[in-house]
Amino acid sequence: MSQQNETEQHTLIALVEDKPGVLNRVASMFRRRGFNIVSLAVGNSEQAGLSRMTFVVNGDDRTVSQVAKQLDKLIDVLEVADITEARIVARELAMIKVKTTSTNRGEIIQIVNLFRANIIDVGRESMVIEITGEGDKINALYDLLAPFGIIEMSRSGIVAMERGEAKGLTNGHGANSAKSNGTS
């Protein structure tokens, strides 16, 4: 794969059949072709029997175009779109468990409020904080909490969709599909 262009993060969305083994096929394709997944989130879509995947992928335009085509080639994948250039909303959820003491609890609560995050569990020496937002916001909160001591963190991976009435995916057979475009 050519690396002459600039590497940047792309957000891809895909509609796939909700069947056993589909995630394995997708993951296997990424592994085998040496593509780099930054994050992957899977869940139900608005249609029964179809799941929606959101990928964040690192690469230049040509590599990411290959990713989209190789994904689309999988029989269980109905449609793929690269929505990086579109007007999108993207959100990720993270839970961060931080060490607390009676003296610093107040300071942590202040930081959490500043980020409009939530405290969803409080223990004697720990707190679980839930934050939703774009990756940068989560990273910023993480950096501020790090000095207190982070016990663990779990991130959901980004989910994304286009703003307004536009539909990133046309549910199968529409003009946005990489399947009908071929070349980019």
């Binding site: 083994g21 394995n24 096929r25 040509r62 689309d72 109905l78 399947k179 475009n181 071929g182 070349t183």
Partner: protein, 564 residues
């Protein structure tokens, strides 16, 4: 009437027009064999190793254009298919592999002969299906055949647990349509893509068509030749594109690439337009990609969108079925002459005559292959494995009809030549099939000579016997300071006696003047024949562009300067 899963498999095979399957039974798949015995319209050919079942199905498919079918049991039976399936995937060959699986309650328990074969074959199939309910069997077989043969063809594996084959019965209902919402097959290309390609072709002064396997798969050979003739564009074939245009066609420059014709590679170097048709700019074709066709723009037509811009950045990518695309393209191509370009290529050919076999007192493998298709007048099917014999066959055998050169290209599978030839002969019983073998590859799969004898497959085996792993030997010669580690055989069997042991005729050839006679005798003899050609041992395949290099580093046969 309600049927078992096994009976539904057989009914489905009949619906798909299958009249022959290659396989070897075992515990988990036995219910299917139980049903097969009551379906005499489906001929079963019993192989000696499941690897041969997959490769025979592959050869059958390439010779006939139909979907080849192989059967195996769970566990080792299924894993023995793997190399053959991988070869079919690399070369876009339509194949359906049906494997038995352990009964559903045992799946995931590491039961006897349990292997996760859908997991194993996931990256080497176009698709695979584990059927967990007898009601899904017909749809699975239907979809497997549809996926295998449509679009860019490939192998599909259907894994069926024993208790799905032989448990609950259900009504056999043949599906009217596929149940594959994520699978679409391109046909025509978007007009804008075709127009862009036509504009580049009409503007070019030094164009070259590179014809790949897709030309054969899509039955586009007639249209391709028509386009080449109309615009007087020379045609270079990839290894798998050989036989897509007659060898003696005046515009056919033969194969290019690592061991391609020197003049073909030199022409590519000077071309201002490469028109890739149903091929994939694989590394054996391009060498170092940055130095490949440095003066050319690229038109690339393929049915698989992911091939466009994968290895080569194209200037006009066209996604569609090649035959449909050429129908769209042909009227837009201007008639042309390209006199200077064709004359220049003639000069290159005269200066670098790599198609000519040098004169020698020894039995040269190139000479054997040239004479072989002289005798058959290019009308036999030639099947090869991988290595020196394969490259020499690609260089020196001649072909008149499409689909008459069958070789393991992408995967480069030693031993392919024996079972694939068997499959090809079963598919085309009226055609002479020559299996061109290396002595190394032949020994990998010669157990299936028995299958050829048993099934009456009239395959003629030509072993180019240099008592070593020739291509490995050559690479060691050139790149590893003649360190022939593990590439020389000191105890090859007597292949004539091997033939006799199987009850067939064996002929040994040691001299040039015996070649034509041996080939004729083999073809006059009914049934399989093994001809053991004791060829010159340390012969090197020229031309030779070392891996990762360009035409600038091409090595040519030194002797050519003296004889031509």
């Amino acid at each position: 009437m309600e049927l078992t899963g096994a009976e539904i498999v057989c009914e489905s095979l009949l619906k798909e027009g299958v009249d022959v399957v290659f396989g070897l039974p075992g515990g988990a798949v036995l219910p299917l064999y139980g049903a097969l015995s009551t379906y005499p319209a489906i001929r079963h050919i019993l192989v000696r190793h499941e690897q041969a079942a997959a490769m025979a199905a592959d050869g059958f498919s390439r010779a006939t254009g139909r979907v080849g079918v192989c059967l195996a049991t769970s566990g080792p039976g299924a894993t023995n298919l793997v190399t053959g399936i991988a070869a079919a995937q690399m070369d876009s060959v339509p194949m359906v592999a049906i494997t038995g699986q352990v009964a559903r309650p045992y799946i995931g328990t590491d039961a006897f002969q349990e292997t996760d074969v859908t997991g194993v074959t996931l990256p080497i199939t176009k698709h695979n299906i584990l059927v967990m309910n007898v009601k899904d069997v017909a749809q699975a077989i239907h979809d497997a055949f549809y996926i295998a043969r449509s679009g860019r063809p490939g192998p599909v594996l259907v894994d069926i647990p024993r208790d799905v084959l032989l448990g609950e019965k259900t009504e056999f209902i043949w599906p009217e349509t596929d149940k594959l919402p994520g699978y679409r097959v391109p046909s025509d290309a978007p007009k804008a893509q075709v127009d862009a390609a036509a504009a580049l072709i009409n503007k070019s002064e030094r164009p070259i068509i590179m014809a790949g396997h897709g030309v054969l798969i899509s039955h586009a050979y007639g249209l391709m030749t028509e386009m080449a003739e109309k615009a007087q564009i020379p045609v270079i074939t990839t290894l798998l594109g050989i036989s897509s245009i007659a060898s003696d066609h005046e515009l056919n420059l033969g194969m290019s690439g690592m061991h391609g014709m020197a003049y073909a590679n030199l022409a590519i170097d000077e071309a201002d337009l490469i028109i890739g048709l149903g091929m994939r700019f694989d590394d054996r074709v391009t060498g170092r990609i940055s130095a490949f066709a440095p003066n050319a723009k690229f038109v690339h037509v393929d049915i698989d969108a992911s091939e466009i811009d994968k290895n080569i950045q194209t200037d006009a990518g066209v996604v569609g079925d090649l035959k449909a695309v050429l129908e769209q393209l042909l009227p837009k191509i201007d008639a042309n002459v390209h006199i200077d370009w064709l004359r220049h290529i003639e000069e290159l050919k005269a200066q670098h005559p790599s198609h000519i076999v040098r004169k020698s007192d020894e039995l040269l493998p190139q000479f054997v292959l040239q004479r072989l298709t002289d005798v058959t007048q290019g009308r036999c099917i030639v099947v090869t494995g991988v290595g020196q014999h394969q490259m020499w066959a690609a260089q020196h055998c001649t072909f008149k009809e499409p689909n008459t050169f069958i070789t393991s290209g992408g995967l480069g599978t030693m031993g392919f030549e024996v079972p694939a030839a068997l499959g090809a002969q079963v598919g085309r019983p009226d055609t002479v099939v020559w299996s061109v073998c290396g002595d190394g590859g032949f020994q990998m799969t010669m157990c299936d000579i028995a299958t050829a004898v048993e099934s009456g497959a009239d395959v003629k085996f030509a072993i180019l016997n240099n008592t070593n792993l020739g291509m490995v030997h050559q690479l060691q010669d050139v790149f590893f300071e003649q360190d022939y580690m593990a590439s020389e055989f000191s105890a090859n069997p007597d292949f004539v006696k091997i033939a006799e042991a199987y009850g067939i005729r064996g002929i040994r050839v040691t001299k040039q003047e015996e070649v034509v006679d041996a080939v004729q005798q083999a073809m006059e003899t009914a049934g399989p024949v093994i001809v053991d050609f004791m060829v010159k041992q340390d012969e090197i395949v020229f031309p030779f562009i070392p891996s990762g290099q360009s035409v600038k580093e091409m090595l040519e046969e030194p002797a050519h300067n003296e004889t031509s």
